[in-house]
């Protein structure tokens, strides 16, 4: 029985995307992964509209002060077992915006991160591989 549960968690990771103040380059690439050319749905992923439905949390953007409370709130709302994938260099390390007074540090200062997909913006394929890696790490069992 546990084999089936593991396998189904790996086969249907539902994604929720939260933009904590990014330049929306990465957000467009995440939306582009829905397009027929990359088709994230064949991996069983669905971009859901509410954190309660999600398994994998895609975070983009250096966490701005206004979005910090919401990021923490959304992170708590995602039910276990969950994985966090950070998309883009500014979410990984707050690259160009480092040192700005409004940035609450990159994402991994605030919430535990499983996989970083580095790039500005990373290509949709890299995002898909990042999600597959996170699913393997957290739901691989």
């Amino acid at each position: 029985m546990p084999g089936i549960v593991e396998r189904s968690r790996k086969k249907s990771p539902w994604l929720f995307h939260i933009n904590t103040g990014s330049c929306n380059g990465c957000d467009i690439e995440i939306m582009a992964s829905l397009a027929p050319r990359y088709d994230v749905e064949r991996l069983g992923c669905v971009l859901v509209g509410s954190p309660k439905h999600a398994d994998v949390l895609l975070v983009t953007g250096p966490v701005t002060r206004q979005m910090y409370p919401r990021l923490m709130n959304v992170y708590r709302q995602v039910p276990e077992p969950k994985a966090v994938v950070v998309v883009g260099s500014c979410a990984t390390s707050g690259d160009v915006y480092a040192g700005s007074h409004v940035i609450e540090g990159p994402v991994d200062v605030n919430i535990p991160v499983d996989v970083y997909v580095v790039g500005c913006p990373p290509r949709p394929e890299a995002i898909l591989k990042g999600v597959a890696e996170a699913v393997q790490k957290k739901f691989g069992g």
């Binding site: 050319r37 580095v118 394929e125």
Partner: protein
């Protein structure tokens, strides 16, 4: 509710092959062009330690080490290519490796 355009489009889509490039499952991938600005390749010998790249880097990715060489903290890099542009000895090249995925961002160090 006139069917019209989209119905013809849907039927044509059904008959033709899907456009999807199956990257994770079947290993296919969209070809990366040769000018793509991916992971940095640093040629230590050619570098003369002028540290011009460190000055133009907008994100402070480039740290100079004691032996007049440089190292790149790739998690801060924005892949803009300013360093490759300015290097007098062409020691820095942008490879076309586009998938940089790690579980720990401290490992991303190009020496």
């Amino acid at each position: 509710m006139r069917l019209g355009y989209m119905f013809k489009e849907a039927v044509r889509a059904l008959l033709s092959r899907p456009v999807t490039v199956q990257s994770v499952t079947k290993g296919e991938s969209v070809p990366v062009p040769e000018r793509y600005r991916g992971m940095i390749e640093y040629d230590r010998e050619a570098c003369i330690g002028c540290l011009m790249c460190g000055k133009t880097c907008p994100t402070g990715t480039i740290l100079n080490t004691e032996a007049h060489k440089v190292e790149f903290r790739m998690d801060r890099c924005v892949f803009c290519g300013a360093c490759a542009d300015i290097c007098p000895k062409d020691a820095i090249k942008m490879s076309s490796k586009s998938e940089i995925i790690t579980r720990d961002r401290k490992q991303l160090l190009v020496k």
